[in-house]
Amino acid sequence: MDPDLALLLNGIVSGLLLGGLYAAAAAGLSISFGMLDVVNIAHPAFMVLGALLVALLWGATGIDPLILSVLLTPAFWALGAAIYVVYHHFFERRGDEAIQGLAFFFGVMFIIEVGLVLAIGPEQHFADAAYAGITWRLGEIDLPLRMLVPALVAFAAIGGLALFLRRSFTGRAIAAVAQDREALRLLAIDPVRIKRLAFGISIAMAALAGGALVVVQPVDAWSGHVFIGRVFAVVIMGGLSSLGGCVLAALAFGVVENVTASFYGPSWSPAVAFGCLLLVLAIRPQGFFGRVA
């Protein structure tokens, strides 16, 4: 195979796998930011919290990190629901959710990071999955399981979540709450309860993303900073409330980053990827799958 073609194909494939990680990181935010209109800037910090808990549990039990992250999801759901209760009581209920709400989640982010340092130290933590050292070869295409397995788990989780949102009554209520909360009241549904449930789900997704992250790379308390810009860009590019759009945007982001890094150097990757975001917003302001207001 022509070396440049092999480089291109590997860039695309590795970009798709990287996109799987971005999709995992962004899916929860797609619910909180896209559907509930809660600007949870601390979402990547919750992901890192999940990752570090998974690393600690992996060190103690040796259970696969992704299984551990699934086991953590109920606790993270409860944590998310509790945080939403506080957020709603002090900000949303009073209509102060815009700037004060943003400041609240900034505060939550710093509390998580400093709390992690105080509790488990500033060092990097890791969890070695049994398959992390294995790479499948398809001709000249490399498929490292360190990237492939987390991506597949992320896609499965997002697929299940999309089915829940589309098929179940509660899921449809979650999708509806962002559009017209008063209409929900007419159906005898408490929009606050629905938002509490949905925010819990978004934080539970952060736990899953944490499991994926710690398989891909070692993690410290500040590892989430790298993802803040990316996950918001992915959610906006995907069309805010669309999980399908979020996945597509995440894959596009990964591919653009890795193909650019392969041919033009890694310094250009973020500039080109965020340039594409601007281009998408210029041509299609509502994102890939967003509806025009």
Binding site: L7, G121, P122, E123, Q124, V216, P266, S269
Partner: protein
């Protein structure tokens, strides 16, 4: 034997009365507890944020030094007190911290926290107050200030471009067959730009063809496109400058892509930290890494082993870097330089301390040190080491000699280069 007369006894008593106060109390002073107001040493230290992984071990080394020096009677007979604040790894916090230390806390001496990003913001404050300043792991921090009371505990020396990568390039050019091409990969940061510049300069001097020369941003998540592009350029040797999260990503990608380079490494900061050593395990085999210390018999100085033995139980209790081979020896040496200068000068006099530091040689746990006009070491000591025979992920193999052998410089050499680097394959 001459008998003792009464006159003789009287002379002896007189002699004893004269000599005993001059000698015995000096010895007694050194063994008794220090007294009087403490000598206060102030600094910022990164105890949270991205630099805390090295800031916390540095602080443990400082505390060990404090206990050691106070147990020996303190400095000038006074106890030593450390006054430090967490700079949160943020340079913007540092000027305020040093202003408070000097103007409000009225510390007697100042030193730096860990790394150039923290040292540089402290310089203007320290210079305004004419304080003597001993820094830790700063690379070229005084190049622009040219402050004559600045002293650096960092082995890079003042001629970074000419010397930093010399060990790596010399080792490469000594291989058979001689390499003809090199790839340069570095993080887009101040330190790694300087190290890459050195590698670029010395590679050209050696006649090596540079086939790949790119920096990557700190936000990089996936390193496989970089390694794949380096592979496509087909270099014989690869010089990489990276920080811990990136180092793990680069080496993981190298392993997944089955690299095979005659020589691979450079200032890849990462395996210096115990957790990453354990995580990477056999992937480290044959990796050539710039370092400041390795537990090899050729690099033992008075106090080195004692420091490591005191450090490790404390680190285990406090949950920080387990082995302490990277920052703690240099952090302890930072305090030894201050201690020896104060003892020689005999008082807290910033000008006299700086003059003494420029004039003297210091005996430290990392060997003898002497400073040049810029406050850097007169003799650079960039170590190039190689991990050899790493098996599994156990910690004990990294405690003993032979796992991280020193290849360069010749005077500390403890093993021979093994090639190629195949990322554990």
């Amino acid at each position: 034997m001459e008998g003792l007369s009464r006159r003789g006894l009287g002379r002896a008593a007189l002699a004893a009365a004269i000599t005993v106060p001059a000698t015995v109390p000096a010895t007694a002073r050194a063994q008794t507890a220090p007294s009087g107001p403490p000598i206060r040493i102030g600094y910022s230290m990164s105890l949270s944020g991205g630099l805390a992984g090295n800031g916390r071990p540095a602080l443990i080394a400082h505390r060990i030094w404090q206990e050691d020096v106070n147990a020996k009677g303190g400095l000038l007979g006074r106890p030593v007190e450390l006054v430090h604040y967490d700079d949160q790894s943020t340079g913007a916090q540092v000027p305020g911290i040093y202003t408070k230390l000097i103007d409000v806390d009225k510390v007697d001496l100042v030193i730096s926290g860990y790394a150039t990003a923290i040292i540089a913001p402290a310089m203007p404050i320290v210079m305004q107050r004419n304080m003597t300043f001993v820094s830790l792991f700063g690379t070229g921090a005084n190049n622009d200030f040219k402050y004559d009371r600045y002293f650096s505990i960092n082995p890079a020396g003042s001629k970074v471009k000419e010397t930093f990568a010399k060990g790596f390039i010399d080792l490469a050019m000594a291989m058979e067959p001689r390499p003809r091409s090199i790839a340069l990969v570095n993080l887009d940061s101040d330190f790694h730009q300087r190290t890459a510049e050195s590698a670029r300069y010395l590679a050209r001097e050696a006649g090596l063809r540079i086939v790949y020369d790119r920096a990557y941003p700190p936000s990089t998540v996936d390193f496989s496109p970089i390694i794949r592009a380096v592979q496509a350029a087909r270099p014989d040797v690869v010089f990489v400058g990276s920080y811990p999260p990136d180092t793990a990503g680069l080496l993981r990608a190298a392993s997944e892509l089955r690299v095979n380079f005659q020589m691979f490494g450079g200032p890849m900061i990462g395996p210096h930290i115990t957790a990453q050593k354990l995580q990477l395990g056999p992937i480290l085999n044959n990796l050539v890494v710039w370092d400041v210390y390795a537990p090899e018999p050729t690099l033992q100085f008075p106090g080195t082993q004692a420091l490591i033995e005191k450090y490790q139980p404390v680190a285990a209790r406090e949950g920080t870097d387990a082995l302490g081979h990277y920052v703690p020896p240099l952090a302890y040496a930072q305090m030894q330089v201050l201690e020896q200068a104060v003892k020689r000068v005999g008082r807290i006099d910033q000008a006299a301390l700086a003059a003494d530091m420029h004039a003297s040689t210091f005996e430290t746990v990392i060997g003898p040190l002497k400073f040049d006009a810029l406050g850097e070491w007169t003799e650079e000591r960039n170590l190039y080491t190689q991990y050899q025979g790493v098996q599994g992920n156990g910690i004990d193999q990294f405690r003993k000699a032979g796992t991280q052998v020193i290849l360069y410089p010749q005077r500390y050499k403890s093993g021979d280069l093994r090639k190629p680097y195949t990322a554990g394959a």
